[in-house]
């Protein structure tokens, strides 16, 4: 990012000329730090989105403070405006004496093609026109930073984290050029007394709180060598005070005989606004103490043409080799890979908000804690899809180890995970989620879910009580529970716990070529006042269609019942639908209480951008079809009825233990036994055998 000169001007200035001679302005250099690009990325994704409208930005600079290098115009995080809503008052650009703001305009394009097609001369001309306006209107005398107005054009490739950009510092060109009758260090130009006065006046001026807009000023030296610093707008008045009036500007240049680029437009102001043809200019540079460096700050005695013509402005920054090209920065190479992955992860989601889903609540996604019961075919795919939706907190629960046949259908495992008796499934799944996206907070819990019909012997009792307690804590700690296990009875306790804690429960189950995805209704024990209508038509759970309590279905299962015997395409579909349903529910204003929508015409627009909010989706892959179904809660349900939930609230783990041990207890408790006895051996009741669980 070295300094380069615009075409036709040379950075090598002459010494002090014997005759007035044209002098050269040192081209200004722009520099954008990493924080600027990060902020630009956010700004593009969150605020600017699809628009290519120019953005007002600020560059920051300070007078050159060393003889070896010029000072750049810097872009940093603060250069871009804050997010809307962050600060409702007028935007104040933070500055200090080392960061004097200069107004600029950013043209950030959506595509590299648009970037390349930008009409750069026109942009420069337009910026120069603004400077002319500010000069002519007097605004530039009030705020002389307007004279240094700059441009940045850029294309941000946020997939790769690369940025292509170019600065322009519009310079007004007069013809014939200004010449310098002399150029000498301030220490030589001023008398000793004057120098002391100038130093003091400059120091005072530089300390002004509004110094940001006072980067050029007047030094009014009275005949008795008193010096005062004044605003540019005092020029005419100062002329009448009888002293010597010297123009000064904070000069980014470090070269002994060449003023920096800002002087160009300042001379235009002097010529056009003040009508002067001769003036002395102090190129204010500092030493390390922040005081005027009399030795390294030249004073030029400048002669301006009386009636200059104004040529096409110049000012596009050249490359380090003096060419006309863009600069390029690849932050992807230097960023922390994990951070990079996180920003990449957000990218797709933020893009969804641009056009298609402005209401997408990404913070909600990121803060939602999901508990996945089962890390098999469904669990793996649900976890993946949740991560893609921006969910960052995922707990997987499974008792098993990765079997040899798993990796082909369970998308978080590799062959290696299945060797040597297999890794613990829940842990391997969590590890592999992190391998996909290091920013995820994934945990694996190896435990089995206590199940009705699996009686507990007395020496197992302590362990099972512990498991019940742990299950309850896990459900309480999470916001959404996915039921993705391989048996009906393993869904009973989680269903009850979700009904008790009023958690969102999403259930997915596979048949050979059919699938069921559903959400459970809310807790039966919600305050009936506040939810009156919903409570009365509460939606059912997975067990609401059953007229028998869940029993041990794993004993005596043949090989095909122990293994995944479903068409391989089913699990990805059911898992995807389960997540889409959960995401839609999380965006629904009523959440778990959202009433069930019925299916509507497929080509209709839906009320919510994420679609209808069904209760159950049943899929039939042999027909490539899906049905939206609604089922109300059953008041004798063995899992979610108020009888069962109340009993659990009263008796806790003891109740659960009794359910595990006593086969007919749930049916007796809920009144199912009576119902069955009353209905002619149950012949009239509808059984829900359509979707028989297999090993998921």
């Amino acid at each position: 990012m070295g300094i380069t000169s615009p075409a036709g001007e040379d950075r090598h200035g002459g010494g002090e000329p014997a005759e007035p001679m044209p002098f050269k302005f040192v081209a200004w250099g722009g520099s954008a730090d990493v924080s600027f690009w990060h902020r630009l990325a956010d700004f593009k994704l969150d605020t600017q989105k699809l628009t290519e409208e120019p953005v007002n930005i600020s560059g920051f600079f300070a007078p050159c403070n060393q003889p070896h290098a010029p000072s750049y115009l810097q872009l940093m995080m603060e250069s871009l405006p804050p997010d809307p809503g962050v600060n409702d008052g007028p935007i104040e650009v933070p500055y200090n004496r080392n960061r004097l703001p200069v107004p600029g305009t950013l043209h950030n394009t959506n595509t590299v093609e648009t970037y390349n097609a930008l009409d750069k001369p026109a942009l420069l001309r337009s910026a120069a026109d603004k400077i002319w306006d500010d000069i002519k209107s007097g605004r530039a005398e009030e705020d002389c930073s307007l004279l240094s107005r700059f441009l940045v054009v850029s294309y941000a490739d946020l997939k790769k984290w690369t940025f292509t950009y170019r600065f322009a510092f519009p310079g007004l060109r007069m013809s014939p050029q200004a010449t310098a009758a002399s150029c000498q260090p301030a220490c030589d130009f001023f008398t000793k007394d004057e120098a002391a006065g100038v130093l003091a006046a400059c120091t005072e001026w530089r300390a002004l709180p509004s110094g940001a807009s006072l980067t050029s000023f007047l030094l009014n030296i009275t005949p008795d060598a008193k010096v005062k610093a004044q605003s540019l707008k005092e020029w005419h008045d100062a002329q009448h005070e009888g002293g010597k009036v010297i123009l000064a500007f904070y000069d980014p240049s470090n070269l002994p005989a060449n003023p920096g680029w800002p002087l160009r437009n300042l001379l235009a102001l002097a010529s056009v606004r003040w009508g002067v043809t001769r003036l002395q200019v102090l190129c204010y540079r500092e030493n390390r103490s922040g005081l005027l460096d009399l030795e390294h700050s030249p004073v030029l005695d400048i002669i301006l043409p009386e009636t200059p013509e104004w040529k096409e402005p110049v000012g596009w920054e050249l490359t380090a080799r003096g060419g006309k090209g863009s600069k390029f920065v690849d932050l992807g190479q230097s960023m922390d890979p994990v951070k990079l992955a996180e920003s990449a992860a957000d990218l797709n989601l933020k893009l969804m908000r641009w056009r298609l889903l402005p209401s997408l609540d990404l913070p909600r996604m990121a803060s939602t804690k999901c508990l996945l019961l089962g890390a098999g075919t469904l669990g793996c795919q649900v976890a993946r899809t949740l991560m893609a939706w921006g969910v960052r907190h995922i707990t997987l629960l499974d008792y098993g180890r990765v079997a040899l046949s798993n990796p082909l259908r369970q998308s978080l495992f590799t062959h290696e995970d299945s060797l040597n008796n297999g890794k613990v499934k829940a842990e391997a799944a969590a590890e592999n989620l992190k391998r996909i996206f290091p920013g995820v907070n994934a945990t694996g819990v190896q435990m089995s879910i206590p199940m009705p019909g699996h009686p507990v012997s007395s020496n197992e009792e302590a362990g099972v009580l512990n498991d019940i307690q742990r299950m309850k804590e896990l459900v309480d700690e999470h916001d959404v529970v996915f039921l993705l296990t391989d048996t009906r009875e393993s869904r009973w306790l989680p269903t009850l716990l979700c009904a008790d804690a009023n958690k969102v429960a999403i259930n997915a189950a596979l048949g050979f070529d059919t699938y069921l995805v559903m959400r459970h209704g809310a807790s039966p024990l919600l305050d009936s006042d506040s939810t009156s209508d919903e409570a009365k038509s509460r939606l059912g759970c997975y067990f609401c269609n059953d007229v028998v309590a869940p029993l041990d279905s794993t004993a005596n299962r043949t090989l095909d019942q122990q293994c995944t015997v479903t068409r391989p395409g089913l699990a990805p579909i059911a898992a995807a639908l389960a997540v889409e349903l959960a995401v839609a529910l999380l965006h629904h204003p009523l959440g778990v209480l959202a009433p069930a929508d019925q299916g509507t015409s497929l080509t209709d627009n839906t009320e919510h951008p994420l679609g209808i909010m069904p209760h159950q989706v049943r899929g039939f892959i042999a027909h490539y079809g899906q049905l939206v179904v609604t089922g109300q809660a059953f008041d004798k349900c063995t899992a979610c009825s108020s009888t069962v939930v109340n009993e659990f609230r009263e008796r806790g783990s003891d109740f659960v233990l009794e359910v595990l041990n006593r086969p007919n207890y749930l049916e007796d408790l809920t009144g199912l036994t009576e119902l069955l006895a009353a209905t002619d051996e149950g012949g009239d009741l509808v059984w829900d055998d359509e979707l028989e669980d297999t090993d998921l």
Copy 2:
């Protein structure tokens, strides 16, 4: 697998008794080699499936041929019957002199519970009853291997490759027990002359081709010391020849004073069938040369009770420690992990054939070569689902590298793959497929697909011609082509190539919340005679609804158009449906010519077990719904019409090059230009904008 004695019998035999004393039979040992378990696994999956019917098997043995160890009854690959259809003639068990077959029965259960619940005494009794029948009917004299009939009970856990099993050798128990008046080595029992004759006769007998069923025999020693070996059925005749008749049997035992288990049932035969109470028995054992070992083969002088009672048979093999338990073998630990993965992979699929999908053509799946164009969101998921369906040959084509945002949605990549500018996508996808399933034949091809609207400069021409040729070769080499790229125009050349080569083309495309999965129709240039009806109602391709040729849609795409902006659940669903559709098509007798089924009632059974055969499936996730749509081929289609395919056949790559370079060429060629001009600026034509491609 040491020899153990049945309860109440001791392996330590006595010496030569002074008085007749009971002697003990050495219990037989069974041994199953690894090849038997592998064959059992196949047999269970492919032939036996769900049935638990007993299976006739063969054990193999030979006389003991060393003094230090007995010979086992061995099970090996050949013990189980061949697959039905492999050999239509009568099943012949392969045998040789060292593998004499013995008939057995295998009871292989589906579950460990059934295994444990087997009524072992009843099984043994039933097998003993068969032996009784064979003795009484005389069959055992014809084929004395029937006397050694054995049992195996087993439970094969094919998920873990572990086998639990137990042998039984039913032994008929007489009471009072047989006693031996003497027991001496054959070399002592026989005179020198007799011994020479016995040796010669045994050697001849042992060489008989039907030796398998002659494991017991008679040695008829004439008074002049001539010896002939005879079948058991000659017993009574032999008695009248005036010589000495000695019973001989191939003895697995190695102990000097204890005959092997087969003698038990042979004595029962002698007692019941021949009515003898005294007989000499040669326990035929061999030396390393395969000749009678006179020194180590004892001759027992046996006294049988006159009217024995018959007690409950014995014979369940005991464990090495003498307990009553099962043996257990864990092949999962010792198998080649890759082989193990392959067998595990087949397991799920074979299980599908058991109950649900007997027509599943696994060899067809394994031999189908699939070409996936695009290794992104759709490509990764299609590849996974294909592998789960048993497809073993997958080629992925993609030009890109793994970007940081990819792993979250593209299920074959991890974060690591995206670092350092990203791995080549096609190659990383192929590698990771192998990591999931080492048995897959996966290849990654990095290339870009030549696309209409992307003109080719003269210095690119050679490369593009090469790409066209390579694309053609790739399509020709594969059976099914999946179109999963991220632009409309990249699907044009593959569509044309598939139409030319009459390949199955499956197309999947995503919108924000909608998806399209379709199969293309057959080639327009198929012999019209043979396909008359189909040809007339040929199904359309992806471009058949378009009235403009594909153009460059990638130029000037904004960030959201370059990235995956679809609901994350869409790609898994569309990819799964694409594979299910392809698998159903591969099973359809008409293949690519299969007519399009319309949607039917979701609860109806479908004609084919894999369901209906639609042309297009359109999904609307906001409605959780899918539509089955049919579209006929368009005779002015820019990709699959006979005009275009014919032009390609005539001009090949030159034609394609012209398409890439000349924007309106395809429209002119097909007559679309004229059509558009004729139809009032195209206002009446239906446009298919519903599914706008985004970056997949």
